[in-house]
């Protein structure tokens, strides 16, 4: 039995739940004779992948849903062997080049070349190109992005690229200008709750509207998370009650706990304990930038305006350094220590004023 997220994923462009205008535009696009490279961007859980799969289905028919997983091997110029997982059908191949770190350039060049060199034997009634889907394009190295630029031009006759990114800030302009960019905004809370209600109806469950709205609020405008939460609610307690507890993601609670620890006491000893917590978060695969923004959000809650600015500015500085360096823990810890120092000073001063 599959999760609701997969089970109720829309398979047809016209059956999407929101951004319907965009869907009909995409449908128009498919019907035109030429199909450009696409750059699809939007926050996670907004439905980028769903839209792309629908689009592929529109292009090639139901054959694209027969997926298989393969590992491909590449050799870097420095003779290092790298392996990468790909998901593919007869018509497309999907890969996440950032999995191999700094060697992503090799993967992109070789993979696209591989795909582009095979042709459809009988191109009548079929598309003459295959599709390569690249995930997380915004996290590619600059090197790989420049390689992409040339590859895109060179092999355009036999393959089209669909690039997926969370934000286009980090995609170089040269790539942006070569693609048709498609923005997928996150669904609003109303849209999420109506989707939740629809899914529950299909499952034959009755979901109270209040609960649907509350889940939607907790889900950060992330539809995937909302559906998972809803399913978790169902496992916890069914039939639903309107005032049922909505389980929050563990890591969010954990970050909140960490933040309150920092606020409760500012001392080197406490810093040691906080470090344990931070390690725990990183070990469990919570991205460090999420930890950063979570901490910032919690920590500034009871500061005054001047201090908020100071903290935000330090957070931005340390986060930037974290991107440049490669040990996230150092920078997280540095930020916590800095915050402790600022906070303690602030507390002492304000206490001093009282007496």
């Amino acid at each position: 039995m599959s999760l609701w997220v997969d089970k109720h994923r829309p398979r047809d462009l016209m059956k999407l739940d929101y951004h319907k205008d965009q869907a009909s535009r995409l449908k128009n696009l498919v019907q035109q004779s030429d199909f450009p490279h696409l750059l699809v961007y939007g926050p996670s859980g907004a439905g980028k992948k769903t839209r792309i799969m629908c689009l592929l289905r529109e292009l090639y028919g139901s054959g694209v849903e027969r997926l298989r997983q393969e590992t491909m091997n590449f050799t870097t110029p420095s003779n290092k062997k790298i392996e990468i997982m790909t998901v593919s059908s007869n018509y497309h191949i999907e890969v996440n080049p950032t999995d191999v770190g700094i060697h992503d350039r090799v993967v992109i060049m070789d993979l696209v070349k591989n795909v582009a060199q095979t042709h459809q034997i009988d191109s009548s009634g079929q598309r003459e190109f295959k599709v390569v889907i690249l995930n997380e394009v915004d996290d590619l190295t600059k090197d790989a992005q420049h390689a992409l630029r040339r590859t895109m031009e060179k092999y355009v006759a036999t393959c089209r690229l669909i690039l997926i990114a969370n934000s286009i800030s980090r995609v170089i302009p040269a790539i942006r200008s070569r693609c048709l960019t498609i923005r997928v905004p996150a669904p609003t809370e109303n849209e999420i709750s109506s989707v939740l209600l629809g899914v529950c109806k299909k499952e034959g469950l009755s979901l109270p509207t209040e609960l649907a709205i509350r889940i939607a609020k907790c889900a950060d405008r992330n539809l995937r998370r909302a559906l998972l939460m809803c399913e978790a609610c169902k496992v916890q307690q069914y039939p639903f009650t309107p005032d049922q507890k909505v389980p929050e993601p563990d890591w969010q609670l954990y970050i909140k706990e960490t933040a309150s620890m920092i606020l409760s006491e500012q001392s080197p000893k406490k810093l040691g304990e906080v470090r344990q917590k931070l390690y725990e978060l990183i070990i469990h695969g919570v991205p460090p930038d999420v930890v950063f923004s979570g901490l910032l959000c919690e920590l500034v809650k009871n500061c005054d305006m001047a201090m908020k600015c100071q903290v935000a500015s330090h957070a931005a500085t340390y986060e930037h350094r974290m991107r440049l360096g490669n040990k996230a823990i150092f920078h997280l810890e540095a930020f916590v220590a800095k915050f402790m120092a600022i906070y303690k000073k602030f507390m002492e001063e304000s206490l001093g004023d009282v007496f």
Binding site: P36, H37, S123, M152, E153, Y155, I168, R183, S293, M305
Partner: protein
């Protein structure tokens, strides 16, 4: 289609290596407007009076100095040299011109081997059919400012020694990135940003030929506005918009170019307190707008805004530069926007 993704460069080395695809069997994909309406002769170039004047004189004499074109993107640099080459060489353009742009490999090795080998070939002063033509070849180095200094240095001697048989034309956005020994060997031409009314005139001509409905022309004004006088960008945006929506509208243009609506930029500049800021940043990112684009538009707004004092402008602009740098390095958008927002709040509270 294939030409569309080439961003308007006709380069011989960029031919897709699609050995199996027979071009005859394929039906011709519709050409991108940028390619379709590229000026055929130098007289068609929009707005570059003096440069065209000089080029015309050169063409009439049949001789060409080494050239260095610089100016902002989309002002017709590449078009000018391509048109000139076509006028000079006619149908043998392909044999006589070597074009390399930034997407080609252009390290020092390529300059040493490929460019040098090409430059050393001697060509005759008559065409195969007996008519006269200039006795030299043309090497076009597009986007020359992205060449390494070493590669540029390797060009120096080649440029001088092979003057008899080869002319070089370097094209770049920033002349300061070209090493002085090269600039001193070339005659420099500056391409100014295109005047608004000329861009609009050209766009409406093209739209008319394409049979696109543009209403009373306000969308064209907006297209120019969003693209800062970059004709190529404006044209690409118009075509994308036409392709996606089937018509050209103001909203469509904003969507296609990935611009942030002006209202949002204005809101960001007017934020009063931290809670508002948090909310703004959250919803801004959820709508999937691009932070770097916001910064770009914000910078223009701050500089031209009337109600800010000089001190405020300084404070905001300084932070803006820092945040933009961090974003380029890959910093998280939410963090940088919050940081900048704080500076804006502080600046607003302290005029």
């Amino acid at each position: 289609m294939q030409a569309f993704l080439k961003t308007g460069k006709i380069s011989g080395s960029d031919k897709p290596s699609s050995s199996g695809v027979k071009p005859s069997a394929k039906k011709k994909p519709p050409a991108p407007w940028v390619e379709k309406y590229r000026p055929k002769t130098i007289d068609d170039i929009v707005d570059q009076g003096e440069v065209i004047q000089v080029l015309r004189e050169c063409l009439a004499g049949g001789d060409l100095p080494h050239l260095l074109f610089y100016g902002p993107p989309g002002t017709g640099k590449t078009s000018a040299i391509l048109a000139a080459a076509r006028q000079l060489f006619g149908d043998i353009t392909k044999d006589r011109v070597l074009e390399l742009n930034a997407s080609d490999e252009r390290g020092i090795q390529v300059v040493r081997d490929k460019v040098k080998a090409f430059a050393q070939l001697t060509v005759s002063s008559t065409r195969p059919d007996g008519r006269p033509c200039p006795p030299y070849k043309l090497v076009i180095l597009d986007e020359a400012d992205s060449m390494t200094t070493a590669a540029q240095a390797a060009l120096r001697r080649t440029m001088e020694r092979e003057t008899r048989t080869t002319r070089f034309c370097l094209i770049c956005n920033y002349v300061s990135r070209i090493i002085p020994p090269i600039t001193s060997r070339c005659s420099k031409f500056r391409f100014k940003p295109l005047a608004r009314e000329n861009v609009i005139k050209r766009l409406s001509e093209i739209c008319e030929t394409e049979g696109v409905d543009i209403g009373e022309g306000t969308v064209l004004h907006q297209a120019v506005e969003t693209c800062d006088g970059d004709l190529r960008r404006a044209l690409t945006a118009l075509q994308c918009c036409q392709r996606l929506l089937g018509k050209i509208t103001a909203e469509g243009l904003i969507e296609v170019t990935g611009l942030v609506p002006d209202q949002l930029v204005q809101d960001y500049l007017n934020i009063k307190n931290y809670t508002e800021l948090e909310k703004f940043v959250y919803s801004f990112l959820m709508e999937a707008y691009s932070a770097s684009q916001l910064l770009e538009q914000l910078s223009a707004l701050v500089v031209s805004s009337g109600h800010l004092t000089n001190k405020q402008k300084c404070a905001i602009s300084e932070k803006l530069a820092i945040c933009s740098h961090r974003l380029l390095d890959g910093g998280a958008e939410s963090m940088q926007l919050t940081d900048l927002g704080c500076t804006i709040i502080m600046a607003n509270n302290d005029p």
